[in-house]
């Protein structure tokens, strides 16, 4: 739940069910979690899988420290990071990823993979992800491949001169 809340801070989504605490619910369409962030983070190929449990624990510790610092009372039933609202989660993620924070590498990695789950579906074959309506690729308007699973764009050029070449262009097409 804690890592879901982290991923939802990076690419926020809609709550999956009314009591969905992990997802802050600041957007009305799916975000990183529904796009497969946990699946991607759980893939040993990422190199972060072994660190997820410790990172999750650290995140809640940092969230508790943050809450105390800014004077928030957190719901004791929830992990501390999950208990923060979206704005506080985002403020904390900014702190965690800031230069000078000795732990930043781990948080930056979590951020990168949360993003990648949404905008490139790195845990899925891209063509399959699109065919199955992957929410990130769909929202971005990523084009569908042709029947053989490859992308080709026959319509690609305005086909006319749109600017003048630099007068000092040499015969080879390079700058002087």
């Amino acid at each position: 739940m804690t890592l879901e809340a982290f991923a939802d801070t990076i690419v926020p989504g809609a709550k999956r069910f009314p009591t969905d605490h992990a997802i802050a619910g600041v957007c009305d369409d799916p975000g990183a979690v529904e796009a497969g962030a946990m699946e991607l983070l759980g893939d040993p190929a990422t190199g972060v899988t072994a660190g997820l449990v410790p990172l999750s624990g650290m995140l809640n510790q940092r969230a508790a420290d943050y809450a105390e610092r800014v004077g928030l009372t957190l719901d004791p039933e929830l992990p501390a990071f999950v208990a923060l609202d979206y704005d506080h989660r985002a403020a904390l993620v900014l702190e965690l990823t800031a230069w000078g924070n000795p732990e930043r590498d781990g948080w930056v990695l979590l951020t990168m993979f949360s993003n990648m789950a949404y905008d490139s579906a790195a845990h899925r074959h891209t063509a399959e992800a699109i065919a199955e309506g992957h929410p990130g690729l769909l929202a971005m308007g990523f084009a569908e491949p042709e029947a053989d699973g490859l992308w080709r764009f026959a319509d690609f050029s305005y086909g006319r001169e749109l600017a003048k070449r630099h007068p000092n262009t040499t015969e080879s097409g390079s700058p002087e």
Partner: protein, 543 residues
């Protein structure tokens, strides 16, 4: 005890610096062995797929340092397999640059004029072609039209792409599935193989030591083909000549690690790294304004919505590639496509009130991804990158099984570099925000620091032993018989894409390397005809 394998010329890396050397030395009669750290992929091995473990992550490396992340090739063919094949020559002022040392950085023997014949050779081999406006993609066309609207010129960039074969799929970074992109797998490498050069993938060179007869012993590890974190064995080869061409992010650690066995390295090994002054800006295009102001329209009625369509950078504005401007105020502005993932995470939401590179406002601009236009800036930096102590193996601590690693390079941009970035950022903003065409933001440096797809200068040529690692023949100072021919040899950022310059310098270095090899008893001559280009990327020979 097994006898140690021997070769005449051992080449580390199979990108431009390695492949060009491999061809000429093999064609001249030398026994050539190339050790390449990455896998050997070709043709149908190049996937249209972002899945971890596809060619996209196999052939591409992203090494995060302290303030600088380096993106580069990791495969047979090196950078040429993952590059965007933009191949301009360096403008003549580049060779006169003083940079941070207060005097000319390049060797006196090299100028644009003296390098032009070498540029010509590489251009003939690849070949480099000039695009016309029918080849220019929507993204390039939009950038050209916007430049023109602001009173600027814009050039179709010279490229190594066969327009007849290109499908404008924009998967170049994963390797070209259609063999439209002119990688080294279609020219120098197959030609080198025809002359007996042996290329061994998944061999990562760790260090060099000396042999009793004045040659070198090269120590390597075998790398697992799926999980690059795993070493599956190790070995050694002895050679009379060693050519290092592992790339500007990987050559220095090999030499640093060799200090124990070879003795002290020149001061400039692992210093003076340049990221080619690179920056990216993302513009969110206002489709209506583009239609109204620039009069652009596609057959489907859209003005643009074509971010995904194309073949990397096709149009550049060279108005500030101008020798009349002072150093650090010169830059080129090139339209570019970067795939999602690497190409989206650092983009910032214009006008964000909360976090700009993640969160709900960032998500909103992702919805407009089809209307993104990315502009790539190549400015003049200050060669401020320095490599710390090398990691135990390779050039980085690998995090993921492929692609992602943490390296020892640190980079703290000087005021000169920052000002160059600011000037270039401001110019892009001025052009693209004119009359409401777009909203523009540079990529953030808050996540991985600065970044470069064109690492340079970390083992550079020069006349001054204090500030260059190599003499103007590319020989490592104080270590005769070791040459460096990759991007690390280029003395400074060059304000344009550097592949052709790296290649031309490698071509130029060959006669001297052949001479050195002959002096060391290798039966090799210089003067082989230029290699013929083939139409299909060369596959790994069957065992």
């Amino acid at each position: 005890m097994t006898a140690i394998e021997k070769t005449d010329v051992l080449i580390v890396g199979s990108g431009f610096g390695g492949s060009i050397a491999a061809y000429h030395l093999a064609a001249g009669g030398a026994k050539v062995t190339v050790l390449e750290r990455g896998p050997w992929l070709s043709g149908k091995d190049f996937d249209h797929d972002y899945l971890l473990g596809s060619s996209y992550t196999k052939v591409f490396d992203f090494v995060a340092g302290d303030g600088m992340s380096v993106l580069g090739g990791n495969c047979v063919g090196g950078g040429s397999v993952v590059y965007f094949a933009a191949l301009p020559r360096a403008p003549k002022y580049v060779f006169e640059r003083h940079g941070s040392i207060g005097r000319r950085m390049w060797p006196a023997s090299i100028s644009r004029k003296t390098l032009d014949p070498w540029y010509d050779r590489v251009s003939e081999v690849l070949p480099v072609t000039q695009q016309d406006w029918n080849d220019v993609t929507y993204a390039g066309g939009l950038w050209a039209a916007a430049c023109d609207h602001s009173g600027h010129t814009a050039n179709p960039v010279p490229v190594g792409v066969d327009a007849k074969k290109c499908t404008n799929c924009n998967w170049m970074m994963a390797g070209c599935r259609f063999d439209a992109k002119k990688s080294l797998l279609m020219n120098y490498l197959p030609a080198a193989m025809e002359h007996g050069a042996e290329i061994r993938p998944l061999h990562e060179v760790q260090k060099l030591s000396r042999t009793e007869d004045g040659g070198y012993r090269v120590h390597y590890n075998h790398i697992d083909e799926e999980d690059y974190r795993i070493t599956t064995g190790s070995g050694q080869i002895e050679a009379k000549i060693v050519i290092l061409a592992a790339g500007a992010g990987a050559t220095p650690p090999i030499l640093q690690r060799s200090e124990d066995t070879l003795g002290a390295m020149p001061h400039a090994v692992g210093r003076y790294f340049s990221g080619n002054g690179e920056r990216l800006n993302t513009a969110i295009i206002n489709e209506e304004r583009v239609a109204e102001v620039l009069g652009l329209q596609r057959p489907n009625g859209k003005a643009y919505e074509a971010n995904q369509i194309g073949k990397g950078p096709v149009v550049a504005c060279w108005d500030f590639v101008d020798s009349a401007l002072p150093e650090y105020e010169r830059f080129s502005m090139e339209q570019l496509y970067f795939p999602p993932g690497l190409g989206t995470i650092l983009a910032q939401a214009p006008g964000a009130t909360g976090p700009s590179w993640f969160g709900k406002e960032k998500k909103e601009i992702l919805k407009q991804w089809k209307s993104w236009l990315t502009i790539f800036l190549m400015t003049e930096d200050d060669n401020e990158g320095v490599f710390g102590p090398p990691p135990p193996t390779g050039n980085a601590y690998r995090i993921s099984q492929q692609m992602l690693a943490r390296g020892p390079l640190s980079y703290d941009p000087t005021p000169n570099t920052r000002r160059g970035w600011e000037l270039a950022d401001a110019k892009v903003k001025e052009i693209l925000e004119k009359d409401g065409l777009a909203k523009v933001m540079p990529w953030t440096n808050d996540v991985v620091g600065a970044y470069t797809v064109h690492p340079l200068s970390s083992c550079r040529i020069g006349d001054d032993p204090a500030t260059s690692a190599l003499d103007d023949r590319h020989e490592l100072r104080g270590h005769p018989g070791i040459f460096v021919t990759d991007g690390s040899a280029v003395p400074c950022g060059i304000t344009v894409n550097p592949a052709l310059t790296i290649a031309a310098l490698a071509e130029r270095a060959i006669p001297g390397i052949v001479k050195a090899a002959r002096e060391r008893g290798v039966d090799v001559t210089y003067g082989a005809p230029l290699p013929k280009s083939i139409s299909t990327s060369v596959a790994r020979p069957a065992a």
